[in-house]
């Protein structure tokens, strides 16, 4: 009977496929089960990671007093921060130029900027390494930063371009009409309007950079260990509860950033425009 009501009413799908919610539950367990286990065991007192004894936060204390982990975190933050700033800057400039629609080969340019999203990461990683070797670029933190800037650009580019595409063109005309030259229009009208897009692009770039593994592994020099590389190194010596703790923190940081990104995008959808 409930499904009958659902069918007759055009604006609700409730109860239409009753077993769908069970599928959804299974899907969510499949998706988040491993992470839940990871988080649970990070609070496990037992030395052997897979045997539960009692609740404790000692692995967090231990992990964050470990100097190697501290260094890895600092390295990751440096790489992500620099890569985010540079990639966002480049992405903003690219989006602005492409929005003008002034030159030939624009579609091609767009394709080239977005292509790294589709190229297998291992291919990019090998290519980057060969390139660095060919030009004798020393491997270290700098090489990681350079590589990260490159693959973060398309991620930063997408939300900025979307925001720019949704922008009312006549606002720029209004600015020019009111005695603002091109630079002033960019500064007083376009960039303030673009801010949420730039911010979202930056967050995306940061997330992508901070948990990148394959490319970092290839181009990292001695002493330039980022957090994902360090975690991988530890795991080869056996799963320690410390790894659980560090991974949980990394997960929560990513989650926070993604949530922020989501809220910004959501806010962009309407409130900033005049209707």
């Amino acid at each position: 009977m409930a499904s009958n009501i659902g069918r007759s009413s055009s604006n609700t799908n409730k109860g239409r496929i009753p077993w769908l919610k069970w599928w959804a539950c299974i899907f969510f367990v499949y998706l988040y089960g491993p992470i839940a286990v990871l988080i649970a065991f990070s609070f496990n007192d037992n030395r052997i990671a897979q045997v539960w004894t009692e609740f404790s936060t000692k692995w967090y204390v231990k992990a964050f007093s470990n100097e190697a982990i501290q260094n890895a975190i600092i390295n990751s933050l440096i790489v992500a921060a620099v890569a985010t700033v540079c990639a966002t800057l480049f992405a903003t400039m690219a989006a602005l130029i492409l929005s003008k629609g002034m030159f030939k080969g624009q579609t091609l340019c767009l394709g080239i900027i977005s292509l790294p999203l589709l190229v297998p990461e291992i291919a990019t990683a090998v290519a980057t390494l060969s390139f660095f070797a060919a030009i004798n670029f020393p491997l270290g933190l700098t090489s990681i930063i350079v590589a990260h800037i490159v693959f973060c650009i398309p991620f930063a580019f997408m939300p900025i371009r979307a925001r720019l595409a949704g922008m009312d063109e006549t606002l720029q005309e209004a600015g020019r009409d009111l005695y603002a030259n091109d630079i002033k229009v960019l500064w007083h009208i376009v960039l303030p309007q673009l801010k949420p897009g730039i911010f979202a692009g930056g967050i995306l770039a940061f997330i992508i950079s901070i948990d990148d593994f394959i490319i970092s592994l290839m181009v990292a020099g001695a002493g330039a260990t980022t957090l994902p590389l360090y975690i991988y190194g530890m795991i080869r010596l056996g799963v320690s509860p410390e790894i659980n703790a560090v991974s949980t923190v990394l997960f929560l940081v990513s989650l926070t950033l993604v949530a922020t990104y989501w809220f910004i995008s959501k806010k962009n959808e309407g409130s900033n425009y005049v209707h």
Partner: protein
């Protein structure tokens, strides 16, 4: 400013858009807009009126011809270097700025001090009676309020000419009517030349000092609203503004200032508003309210009422005067006891001298 120099001279302006096939948006348009005038560009969509406005504002460049502002060539000047401001159809208020910042934007870009800007912003808000709105954001305002702010934002830098691109089209009817009066008042108070673009003939009629009727990239007629209505130059203008009866006639004789044109032995005397030869086929335009009903024995025209529609202020009658000609006649409903002819009745119609206009085409 020298009052004898036109505010804007549009000299033989041609505008092509390179597309396939190429579009001729403006074809050799010449218009002079006088100082302190409320000037309207009127025409259906695609007639080139908005293109002309954008050429004056500087958003686009003419393919040929020149535009002068108080005698100075505008060629090569960017929009930000032209002392003209635009009120956009979609208002285009800057969503990230307060109302006060929006209004002050032009002055800020011109490098005025913040004290001066604050004074002007206060005056501008007072001009549209929105003194308390300075700190609000544009999306907190209603459509009518946004419209007013868009207007004073463009007025704040004291432009030599204000361009208005269908600014009332997004408002509902009541608000639109109120804004018409407001616009006219603002024009008189500021003494700034207004160039107003619209497709709404009523708007054009009630606000303008002069109206330029445009169609297909060409100027059709430039005159006062009264002359546009009473003496349309051609079929397009006659049909576009108000309702009209078009009567096919032949020029039967010619005097010094007038022609006699006949239609089935009915003779109309019309002013020589365009040049024709005796024997030419010409079209006369007569507005429906010009006729008066008389008994069928008198009157210039005689015909049968085939339709009658009561419209409140008027009754619209359709009178068939011969097999090929039906005339629309409008009778004002002055009192309830008025005897109006019924369908099928034969009536006479009289036409006052000068009511018929000779069209060029």
């Amino acid at each position: 400013m020298n009052k004898s120099i036109p505010a804007i001279s549009v000299n033989s302006v041609v505008k092509h858009y390179a597309s396939n096939p190429p579009i001729v948006a403006l074809n050799n348009v010449t218009i002079e807009i006088q100082d302190n005038e409320f000037f309207t560009l009127l025409g259906p969509s695609g007639c080139g009126k908005t293109t002309l406005l954008r050429l004056i504002a500087g958003f686009e460049q003419p393919t040929e011809g020149a535009i002068l502002l108080y005698g100075d060539h505008l060629e090569g000047l960017d929009p930000n270097d032209r002392p003209v401001n635009t009120v956009f159809q979609s208002y285009s208020l800057f969503p990230h700025m307060t109302i006060a910042e929006n209004i002050g934007f032009g002055l800020k870009m011109k490098g005025q001090s913040s004290d001066q800007i604050a004074l002007v912003v206060r005056d501008m808000l007072a001009l549209v009676k929105m003194e308390t709105f300075g700190n609000r954001m544009p999306n907190q305002l209603s459509g009518g309020q946004q419209q007013r702010i868009a207007l004073v934002r463009a007025l704040a830098p004291k432009p030599k000419v204000l361009l208005l691109d269908e600014p009332l089209s997004a408002l509902d009817l009541k608000l639109r009517q109120a804004m018409r009066l407001e616009l006219k008042r603002l024009q008189k108070e500021t003494g700034i030349t207004f160039v107003f673009v619209t497709h709404d003939q009523e708007e054009a009629m009630c606000m303008s000092d002069r109206v330029a009727v445009m169609s297909q990239g060409e100027l059709q007629q430039l005159d006062s609203p009264q002359m546009i209505y009473e003496r349309p130059r051609n079929r397009f203008v006659a049909n576009f503004i108000g309702d009209v009866n078009l009567i096919d006639t032949k020029v039967s004789s010619e005097n010094q200032n007038s022609y006699v044109c006949s239609h089935n032995n009915i003779e109309f005397s019309v002013n020589k508003t365009s040049q024709h030869q005796v024997g030419d086929q010409v079209t006369l335009a007569i507005r429906p309210e010009k006729f008066s009903l008389v008994s069928s024995a008198e009157g210039l025209l005689k015909g049968t009422v085939v339709d009658s529609t009561y419209m409140g202020t008027d009754t619209y009658l359709t009178v068939k005067i011969d097999d090929s000609t039906e005339l629309e006649v409008r009778c004002q409903n002055i009192d309830l006891d008025q005897q109006l002819p019924t369908i099928g009745e034969t009536v006479g119609l009289s036409v006052p001298n000068g009511a018929a206009t000779l069209l060029e085409d």
